[in-house]
């Protein structure tokens, strides 16, 4: 395995004329949890959405520079978007289970990407159970697999959104403020889950909550106005920031 799961070189992103990312060089360690912090509007979501190229849905988005995932620049012309998105999963700020049953949500990816002969009933059932167990939902949901997923509590919905990535065996899971729609209790549960997943997957988490960044991440990057100010081991960043702006931010002087 590469030392880094994602590397960018001179990554710029424009929304029309507006330069939201100003030439970023940033690297995320494989198998570790990395956090992105920074004030509102600094480009955390934008950066995260570059890594599975879902930014391109919007009109007028232009990207420059490189994003290397497994030695391959995902912005090069020969990139297979489907393969990329299998490798790099994403969890959104608001839980967004599909309006299908729990079971169909979890198996959505498998059914998309594997032809029938590779997915007989027992393979599917196994994937279903493994994924739900991995996010601590199996005991709660094993008897209600046909419940409409959108009727679950937000905490369960968010766990389900994580679980549905797992059957595709992603290398990286991107999470954009995964707890911001949840109450403190649910947040604690999700954080516990993140610590369980760490190691098996490379996680990149955007968060507004610095305490959360300290609790869950190995490395932490501080972003400001479309640039990465500094990125270091989380402990070091919070204990002895090198840049004055980082220090100001983590001491709560702005943002």
């Amino acid at each position: 395995m590469d030392e880094y799961c994602i590397k960018t070189r001179g990554l710029k992103l424009f929304y029309g004329e507006f330069e939201a990312l100003k030439g970023l060089d940033i690297r995320f360690l494989s198998g570790k949890t990395s956090a992105l912090i920074g004030p509102s509007g600094c480009g955390k979501t934008t950066l995260l959405r570059c890594f599975n190229r879902i930014n391109e849905r919007y009109e007028g988005v232009r990207t420059e520079g490189e994003v290397v995932v497994q030695e391959h620049d995902i912005y090069s012309a020969d990139t297979d978007l489907v393969e990329l998105r299998k490798k790099v999963g994403m969890v959104f700020q608001r839980p967004n289970p599909l309006p299908l049953s729990v079971r169909d949500n979890i198996l959505y990816g498998l059914r998309l990407h594997f032809s029938r002969k590779y997915r007989d009933a027992s393979t599917l059932d196994e994937a279903l159970e493994t994924s739900l167990r991995a996010v601590h939902l199996w005991d709660d949901l094993k008897d209600s697999l046909s419940t409409e997923a959108t009727t679950l509590s937000l905490e369960k919905q968010q766990k389900l959104c994580i679980a549905r990535l797992l059957p595709l065996k992603p290398e990286v899971i991107l999470m954009d403020e995964p707890c911001s729609a949840l109450d403190p209790d649910a947040t604690a549960k999700i954080e516990e889950l993140l610590r369980d997943l760490a190691g098996d997957y490379s996680l990149v988490i955007v968060t507004h909550n610095m305490a959360q960044a300290r609790r869950v991440s190995d490395e932490c990057a501080f972003m400001l106005l479309g640039e990465v100010v500094e990125m270091r081991r989380t402990e070091d960043l919070f204990v002895s920031p090198r840049d004055q702006r980082t220090a100001n931010y983590i001491e709560g002087r702005f943002g």
Binding site: R85, G89, F92, R94, L98, L112, H113, L165
Partner: protein, 283 residues
């Protein structure tokens, strides 16, 4: 001002009831005293002007309406839903707005113009292509009516697709689905009641349409055996015959009874559409 708004609102409701009351009361003597229900609904023989033996069976007219509408839907449903999907999911910006305006313009084409196209363009074309004796038939009326129903279906279906939360699309795309897969596996199921309502409104539009089918279907009261047979619909019958009957005559009243039948048919379809839409918003 408030009074004026209320008055116009109530007057609209009043007029609808007044119209139904007028149609129904004109037809009531015929319906309750003269007509044989079974014959009216099951006999294909519509001979209101026969001297010796007048017969008032609407089955052939009903078959005309159903066959033309059915064919129209075979054309309009894929076209209408397909263009709604295309506009909603595969275009953006200027192209999207341009297409939406074009579709709305299509809805503004008067039906007599469509009828004219049926007569002047489709008729010779059908004779040529199918080597048919006449080109005014179910096929012609169905195509014209299908095209006429596309705009309303597209507009309503596009609204239904637009109402699907964007987060569903992102969820699906982020799992590696293509836009087609997303449409087919997520958007259509999520928007299904709105799409069904769009189809039913198209059906209602097609059943009620008169002028274009009058011009395009060839005026033969018969149960069609093939799309190349001429037929006559309920609406066309009323439009064609009412002017030639004496007010108050049996024939006159019978045409109003046909009107009641038609009214019930479109009312049923619209009610179904409405209930479906309500069912959706209640959830």
């Amino acid at each position: 001002m408030e009074f004026a708004i209320k008055a116009s609102g109530f007057s609209a409701i009043f007029f609808v009831f007044a119209i139904f009351f007028f149609v129904f009361s004109t037809a009531s003597e015929f319906i309750f005293e003269k007509m044989d229900f079974v014959e009216f609904l099951t006999s294909p023989e519509w001979y209101p002007t026969s001297l010796s033996n007048k017969r008032y069976g609407t089955l052939a007219l009903l078959a005309g309406t159903v066959s033309v509408t059915g064919l129209a839907m075979l054309i309009a449903v894929p076209l209408g839903l397909g263009s709604a999907l295309f506009i909603s999911e595969f275009t953006s910006g200027v192209v999207k707005e341009g297409l939406k305006i074009t579709i709305e313009l299509l809805a503004a084409i008067p039906s007599v113009v469509w009828g004219f196209i049926g007569l002047a363009v489709m008729n010779p074309l059908i004779i040529e292509v199918f080597d048919a004796p006449i080109g005014l038939n179910v096929l012609n009326g169905g195509i014209i009516l299908g095209l006429m129903s596309v705009p309303i279906m597209t507009t309503i279906a596009e609204d239904a697709l637009k109402a699907v939360p964007d987060s569903y699309r992102e969820a699906s795309l982020a799992l590696g689905a293509t836009r087609w897969q997303t449409a087919h596996k997520v958007l259509f199921p999520a928007a299904r009641s709105g799409l069904l309502a769009a189809v039913l409104l198209g059906v209602g539009r097609a059943i009620g349409e008169t002028m274009a089918v009058l011009m395009a279907t060839g005026h033969a009261v018969q149960i069609p055996g093939s799309p190349l047979d001429s037929v006559r619909t309920l609406t066309a019958t009323i439009a064609a015959e009412l002017g030639e009957t004496a007010a108050g005559s049996d024939h006159y009243q019978a045409l109003f009874a046909v009107g009641v039948l038609l009214f019930l048919l479109t009312f049923g379809v619209n009610l179904a559409a409405d209930l479906i839409v309500r069912g959706r918003s209640a959830r």
